[in-house]
Symmetry: C2
Subunit: 463 residues, 2 copies
């Protein structure tokens, strides 16, 4: 491809993205795709000769776009958001153009130091002035925190687990599934993972149950090493009692990791900062700017009280990576799983500066207001039950029966006009509505509420 | 930021990238940055109010660019390349604009199915028709392969390592450092990692030594579970003897992983396909299109003979991720560490189609020729010793003494006109020159050779 061809088509894509952000996608937000449908239309063999990028883009429009779940569409209320934004895309584009590998300071001094400064900024915004780094996802961040806890307890890196006193780890039954996966990967064994019951009213971790589990494990000769608290669980955005959990961690010498993957962004609002109260007593903390802080996926931030504890678990130094430097700067390869690392700080820089802290706060406040508005509609409607008062961005509700809830969700998603997901709580099939879309406004909340009513009414009608 | 502002500045960045690709960077390829120098110039506090993106870009030009190691500059010969390309940037940009999370089929049918098809294409290009997925880096791919091996041998995911017969793992002493890190992370313990000596002539793994180590471990009551072969080691692109290693793996029931992170790309040339001979007898294989196949970082491909063995190690399925689908398609979250995944297949689609297989082959052939040319210059020059005949893209050479080699490397890098890295082999400090830069031509190889001569001559001169 000639450079001028890149320039021309690059600008075409910029135009397309601008339209996509401004006007949204005209088709279904959740596609009615049959498994294998796209695959069948993609050539089985790679092309021998070069094709123009316009041809690839034409296929993108005709084949990819209609079979895509539109995560950044304001009609997307499923899971949690994975927000892009204008500034995020610009920073990401510049990073792709530069193509730097930010593994070590020496391979990318500016990338490393900008990443350090972005963590400082986030620390100030969140009131948690720790050091940290950018990871890809909270899955990786949780895993790294768990490895730090493991190595604090025993030298598994060198000796393995053999002959050790079995180590136990703890999280709420509502904690994210990446906790379970981290337990698998790190070699703890799931039988040593304790899922602590949630409270019956708001699904927060029951700290008394945690205390009992720890005591029991100690009595049985196990060694408790790690607790993950969640601020904003995936199912219902429950907030675990950080101080009560911190008391137990301090008492028994456990590593305390706070997973606020979604919710952390809300803590940049002074009136929401309380959700992180107690985090300062923890050992590590994670939140994802790629969720609710409009920084293109992937961008997860892991912060730690004692960086050396993390580096002890993850720092290796082969000859071909050696290069002299002061202790002033970091080699972020020593803070995570991967050696190679993209220059992600650039998009964070664009986002924080082009929104400004006030701009970010305003967006999140709007989303919180939309959530409250939607919950109020559900509450006053006799056809639906609100499961719990939403503290953050997610409304959980259900119909009189699971079958009805399930049918309603299907009808909404099949309409193509909204995409919601579900969970199971208190044994019930529950519909989740997650707000926080970059392009979402109060109007979209109202549209969704109207759609819910229409789909419900259509189901009630005889065929 | 208004949409029109995004459009305008987006096009400015496209213009900048076009110039950067076409004309390169006028400053030093390797910056003379003092640790902390950038940090000191970055504001300590985040801005409260929004700033225009042009302001961020101006700071990028004045503060980031001069302190960046220019990985995509044709004067960069360090480590291995991390190549971007016009098509790769376009695909990446489109992916950022779309903002899809490709964790499950249901969250992104087109992204999942395009990823499956891209693996088919690569399988055909490499003559290895396996299933696979896109990972971020070879670090992650190696780790996942190792977990698959671990779970094939014992149910560590559920039971942990306690009470197990200790499991041993093997790789060449010249294998990538991510092997060691994977051993740490997966809980094997480094004392159960065996680094097999390399041959003295070409640094390939000594298969007889491997056979002895395995026998010894079995005799001692250990359980050998995993061997990683390397095709193209980091230090000198040595190629381990895959068939001899496969014989041992088959005999003893070990998982055999082939790490061809850099070199895999070369196997798309018919005349270079031999480097992967024997891979068909392995269990898993990894190569990085982000290195030498011009697909923006990050994009590493992990292929496996039996996908179920990998999924057994990594698939979990919580309620909020459940969604019905056929067995026709994959949920790639079950193939790796992270739940969240970017839509990376898009950039691979752009790259393979806009280069065409023939176009990719031509680029790589040029790089191989540059390597041979450079090695020939070294060989005929009495000031330098060529360490070993280069089989791929990397020339390793040294001066008469380590001190001289070290000083020469420093002089070259300090010139700002080239960036090389080093390694230690046979106890010698060795200068590495890695070719394979997307924008690199024979002219750049010649410029480098001239620079080497000039720097050497300048050192020899009395002050």
């Amino acid at each position: 491809m000639q450079h001028e061809h890149f320039r021309r088509h690059g600008k075409d894509i910029i135009d397309w993205i601008t339209e996509y952000m401004e006007n949204g996608y005209e088709g279904a937000v959740f596609p009615k795709t049959t498994p294998g449908e796209v695959l069948a239309q993609l050539p089985a063999h790679p092309p021998q000769e070069a094709e123009p990028p316009e041809q690839v883009f034409a296929d993108f429009e005709s084949l990819i776009l209609p079979h895509t779940t539109h995560w950044n569409d304001p009609r997307f209320f499923a899971y949690f958001p994975a927000n892009h934004s204008g500034p995020g895309i610009l920073g990401d584009l510049l990073s792709a153009g530069l193509g730097v590998n930010a593994m070590s300071w020496v391979t990318s001094p500016a990338a490393t130091e900008l990443e350090m400064r972005m963590i400082d900024w986030l620390g100030e915004m969140l009131g948690l002035p720790w050091k940290g780094c950018i990871q890809d996802t909270a899955s990786s961040a949780t895993f790294c925190a768990m490895l730090a806890a493991r190595e604090q307890a025993a030298d598994v890196n060198q000796e393995g687990f053999y002959g050790q006193q079995p180590m136990t780890v703890y999280a709420s039954e509502h904690a994210h599934s990446s906790m379970q996966k981290a337990v698998w990967m790190a070699g703890f064994g799931e039988r040593y993972l304790r899922l602590v019951p949630g409270e019956t009213d708001d699904f927060a971790m029951n700290a008394e149950a945690l205390a009992e589990m720890i005591e029991q494990d100690i009595a049985q000769g196990f060694r408790p090493v790690f607790v993950m608290s969640t601020v904003g669980t995936t199912s219902s955005t429950a907030i675990d009692p950080l101080h009560a959990i911190a008391d137990l961690c301090e008492k028994h010498g456990l590593w305390h990791h706070v997973d606020a993957a979604l919710a952390g962004a809300a803590a940049i609002l002074p009136e929401q900062r309380w959700i992180l109260d107690g985090t300062e007593r923890a050992d590590s903390f994670c939140f994802n700017p790629h969720k609710w802080m409009f920084t293109n996926f992937d961008c997860s931030v892991l912060m730690v009280k004692d960086p050396n504890a993390l580096k002890k678990a993850l720092a290796i130094n082969p000859e071909y990576l050696k290069a002299g430097q002061d202790a002033v700067v970091e080699n972020f390869r020593d803070w995570g799983i991967q050696l190679g690392r993209r220059f992600r700080a650039l998009k964070l820089w664009y986002v924080i500066r082009c929104f400004g802290v006030a701009g970010l706060q305003e967006k999140i406040r709007t989303h919180l207001a939309m959530t409250q508005w939607f919950a109020a509609q559900v509450k006053q409607d006799p056809r639906f039950q609100l499961l719990t008062e939403p503290k953050l961005n997610t409304v959980c509700f259900h119909c009189d029966s699971d079958a009805l809830s399930q049918a309603l969700l299907k009808a909404i998603n099949d309409s193509g006009q909204a995409y919601l997901s579900h969970t199971v709580l208190r044994g019930r099939y529950v519909i989740r509505v997650a707000f926080g879309q970059i392009h979402g406004t109060q109007q979209h909340a109202e549209n969704l509420w109207r759609l819910v009513g229409e789909c419900y009414a259509a189901m009630a009608k005889p065929d």
